[in-house]
């Protein structure tokens, strides 16, 4: 049915990284979407310039660097951390991140005793203003199906294991509340600036499927 099998919602039949359509002949979906855009423009329902701005926004402006700033601020400033936990929508808005798919924010703090992990089993709900658009795996069946029943198995596929005594708390985003995980500050980061801390915050650590980098990881990245 689809030439885009590698990104199907259901079981992936190809490796997720194998995308090769850019530059090749126009696919059936390219043609269908072009026809639709042309029609909606001709009818005056959409402003093509508005579409370009929407794309620019989600491709280049909004992304996990926003959430990383929130986390780094919370790690650095105890009053901000408390505000984030009490009223995440306002605390995040104070850094300029508001609006679409982030109207009602809740921050979930990881501790040595509790690990939080976020999923949307029903679709792809995700906090756009702080994390950008969700990755394919977040929208796909393997994650959406198993996050709620076997989160430790899922975390192994992301390459890490939690100690057995840690409580794994999964949050299913069924309403318009959007969840941001506040990961634990990594060891060896005393005295680091907020900007440097933000470099350690990964997207996955804010979903709960990964951990922040450590300063040693960062040094490895630089090599």
């Amino acid at each position: 049915m689809s030439h885009d099998d590698h990104h199907v919602v259901g079981p992936a039949r190809h490796h997720a990284g194998a995308h090769d359509h850019e530059g090749s002949a126009l696919s059936e979906m390219d043609l269908r979407v072009r026809a639709l855009e042309s029609l909606l423009t001709e009818k005056g329902y959409v402003d093509p310039a508005a579409l370009d701005i929407l794309i620019e926004t989600y491709e280049h402006k909004v992304g996990p660097h926003n959430g990383a700033r929130v986390v780094a601020r919370a790690w650095s400033d105890p009053a901000y951390r408390q505000w984030l936990l009490d009223d995440a929508t306002s605390a995040i808005a104070s850094l300029g991140y508001t609006g679409r798919q982030g109207e009602h924010m809740v921050a979930l703090e990881n501790t040595p005793a509790v690990h939080n992990m976020v999923v949307c089993t029903l679709c792809s709900c995700y906090p756009w203003p702080v994390l950008g658009l969700p990755p394919v795996w977040y929208k796909s069946a393997p994650y959406r199906s198993r996050a709620v029943i076997d989160p430790r198995g899922v975390l192994k596929e992301f390459g890490f294991e939690l100690p057995p005594d840690v409580e794994v708390r999964v949050w299913d985003s069924t309403a318009e509340v959007r969840y941001l995980v506040l990961p634990m500050r990594p060891p060896g980061t005393d005295g680091m600036s907020e900007r440097a801390l933000a470099e350690l915050v990964t997207r996955d650590s804010m979903i709960g499927t990964g951990l922040p980098k450590t300063p040693d990881d960062r040094k490895q990245d630089a090599i």
Partner: protein
């Protein structure tokens, strides 16, 4: 609707396959479908719950064998047909053959940024006192509507504890079917993983956002 979107607890989809350095979009038409969906949503001809309902109504085999943006395309197509904004032939050919239908508004380029930053908050004045309080033990109802709902199958008829109140939010079940927003108290309910899955789980608990209409006072224990 008990459709293919309701994936929580299924087990046969294989491992999660994260993609390193994944771009926001993999092929150009995905950018355009994302932007078209947002721009058409802004016309006011339908709401987000109707959009989700349209995607969920795809036959399960089609849903699972489509990529996420293919599902968005099909959902948009269904909404255009259902609202009379376009005919199937027009969508196929990309050529307008009928007069444009009136729409409440068009999202213009100079409005995009403010529109995204404003978002679409769904909190509303509460219709009355909240029926439940933090700490209350509640039971989800056994609901299997043929129309849109946000109560996943895996947590129907299950006991949990209220852990948060979010005020009154637009009710997706009514909003999706044109019966209006009918705001209801929204709660976060924490379910012990054993309540949902028995022994076959690695989760400790799963938190789900539930509207008041999904909840009832637990049945008395069987004698």
């Amino acid at each position: 609707m008990n459709g293919a979107q309701d994936l929580g607890g299924m087990q046969a989809f294989g491992p999660v396959q994260p993609e390193a350095d994944e771009p926001p979009f993999h092929v150009n038409w995905e950018r355009r479908v994302h932007a078209l969906t947002l721009a058409m949503g802004a016309t006011g001809k339908w709401n987000i719950d109707m959009s989700r309902a349209a995607r969920e109504s795809l036959p399960p085999a089609q849903y699972l064998s489509s990529s996420y943006y293919e599902i968005w395309f099909e959902g948009l197509r269904k909404l255009l047909l259902a609202t009379g904004l376009a005919t199937a032939e027009e969508i196929e050919t990309g050529v307008s053959m009928t007069a444009a239908a009136p729409i409440p508004r068009v999202l213009m380029a100079d409005q995009v940024s403010a529109s995204l930053l404003r978002g679409n908050p769904v909190d509303r004045p509460a219709p009355g006192e909240a029926r439940f309080a933090i700490g209350d033990v509640v039971q989800t109802r056994q609901l299997h509507p043929l129309t849109h709902t946000r109560l996943p199958r895996y947590c129907r008829g299950k006991r949990g504890q209220i852990v948060a109140l979010h005020g009154a939010h637009v009710c997706p079940d009514t909003n999706a079917t044109g019966q209006g927003e009918q705001p209801q108290w929204l709660y976060t309910v924490r379910f012990g993983a054993a309540e949902l899955w028995g022994e076959n789980t690695t989760a400790s608990s799963v938190c789900v956002d539930c509207w008041e209409r999904y909840l009832e006072i637990p049945n008395a224990p069987a004698a």
